[in-house]
């Protein structure tokens, strides 16, 4: 009997200290039946990638409100790829200008969520990203 649970790492790279959004998402994904690992504030791309590896997560969610997403997101994705986690899906939440979204998507981010996003949508899209057949 296999017993697969979706595992998600919620991480806050960079220097901003506002983690309310990250906590809201973490809680919502827990309520959607996922196992959510929250790592806390001020994570470097190295720390995030290593945590994703040790926890063997399916998805990494990056919460960024500092404006440094154009630097941080590609750095995290590069690190993940470098250590063999190119199959891990990445989404971004926070304050991200419209114009920056295509660039992030091109880097491999599957979704970008702004303030006020319905958390059930985030959960549903994670399930689709991890297991495209199941919907």
């Amino acid at each position: 009997m296999t017993n697969k649970k979706i595992r998600v790492l919620i991480a806050k790279p960079g220097l901003d200290g506002h983690d309310r959004g990250a906590k809201v998402i973490a809680r919502a994904l827990r309520d959607a039946g996922m196992e959510v690992i929250y790592t806390g504030l001020r994570q470097t791309p190295d720390m995030i990638a290593e945590a994703a590896l040790q926890e063997d997560v399916d998805v990494v969610g990056l919460s960024i409100l500092s404006g440094a997403h154009n630097a941080l997101v590609p750095a995290v994705i590069d690190k993940l790829t470098q250590i063999g986690l190119d199959d891990v899906k990445v989404f971004v939440g926070g304050i991200i200008p419209e114009d920056d979204i295509p660039n992030l998507e091109e880097k491999g981010v599957y979704a970008v969520y702004g303030p006020g996003t319905d958390t059930q949508r985030v959960a549903a899209e994670i399930k689709t990203a991890v297991n495209p057949k199941s919907e």
């Binding site: 827990r30 196992e35 929250y38 590896l53 040790q54 063997d56 250590i83 986690l85």
Partner: protein, 336 residues
């Protein structure tokens, strides 16, 4: 396919994927556990348990750091951490937050941290925690720190799994009657009063000390009587009163500042030496492996029973129980 050889040679990704395989009970799980088992039996399994918010994660973080730094002239021990947090009984999801307190450890390749959801198990650990310990032991970790779910009075599975159990108390958690109740305090090999910078810490330590004084002599630190009887029966050749017993130390620690940690690391090492020299290490191993086997047999029997179950008959009998026509104890005979 995950390669057991890769895990042995230190490939962290292979190890991590193997842990998932075991946790999800995939087809790889059996093969990997079997391949690594011959290399196990070397790691020192140290359990850290205590009430929610007593500071277990912070303590584990400090212990891991101290272990890595303390033996400067030899190779520092490789440390694995298994941190268990509860699964929601409603959604089946879990929020695993123990890593928040372990950020100091990032970047040290001699440390591997894995969070685990309890997935419905009630004893303070998850169903696969013991199997995780086996894989990590086989992967060559020297010390495995196992942090339980925030535990109250009954979550004592850790006593069976770990060689050394640290029970963490925070000051002001209850009166001296709490301290003499059965359960979690009984399983302690080392008692820690964390947050010792708080004014009530001394009182808590005093209440714990009274509890220990009341427990039977010999191997101090209650709950060891069973182990002792085993030891006398199977391995021990000299009377137990001639063996140096283990006095459960009570340590005042302020984990967040790191004070009291070095003493605690010494205690953990001392406890291991005590277990080895008194043969209790072997007794504990034998007891644990036997219990693990029993648990596997129970799982397998349940699986087999469920596979062969006549679902219709089962539902009918269930309905009869609900209507008070038959008692569950009668139905048991009809179903097995």
């Amino acid at each position: 396919m995950i390669d057991a050889e890769a895990i042995r040679s230190g490939n962290r990704l292979a190890l991590s994927r193997a842990l998932t395989a075991v946790e999800n009970n995939t087809p790889d799980s059996k093969r990997l556990q079997a391949a690594l088992f011959p290399f196990t039996g070397n790691a020192h399994l140290v359990g850290v348990t205590g009430a929610p918010g007593s500071g277990k994660s912070t303590l584990v973080n400090q212990l891991a750091k101290a272990f890595r730094q303390s033996s400067s002239n030899e190779k520092p021990p490789k440390i694995a951490i298994i941190a268990v947090d509860p699964t929601s009984p409603y959604s089946g999801g879990a929020l695993l937050g123990d890593r928040i307190r372990m950020q100091d450890l990032a970047g040290d390749k001699g440390i591997f941290i894995r969070s685990m959801a309890s997935r419905g198990a009630l004893g303070g650990l998850a169903h696969s925690t013991a199997a995780f310990a086996t894989l990590l032991d086989g992967a060559g970790f020297d010390v495995i720190l196992i942090e339980t779910v925030g535990a109250g009075q009954a979550e004592v599975d850790i006593a069976r799994l770990a060689h050394t159990v640290i029970v963490v108390e925070a000051p002001g958690m209850g009166d001296d009657i709490q301290a003499i109740k059965a359960g979690i305090l009984e399983i302690a090999d080392i008692l820690v009063v964390n947050k010792a910078d708080r004014p009530e810490a001394e009182n808590t330590a005093r209440a714990l000390n009274i509890m220990l004084e009341m427990s039977h002599g010999g191997i101090n630190g209650a709950g060891k009587h069973f182990m002792r009887s085993l030891a006398e029966k199977k391995v021990n050749t000299e009377p137990s009163d001639k063996k140096p017993g283990w006095e459960t130390p009570i340590r005042l620690v302020t984990a967040i500042e790191g004070s009291g940690i070095d003493t605690l690391v010494d205690d953990i090492r001392r406890h291991k030496a005590y277990l080895v020299s008194s043969d209790l290490w072997k007794v504990k191993e034998a007891f644990r492996l036997e219990k693990d086997l029993e648990a596997l047999i129970k799982d397998k029997l349940l699986d087999q029973w469920q596979e062969n179950l006549d679902e219709e008959k089962y539902q009918d009998l269930l309905a009869e129980i609900l209507q008070r026509k038959r008692s569950p104890i009668e139905v048991l005979d009809l179903l097995l």
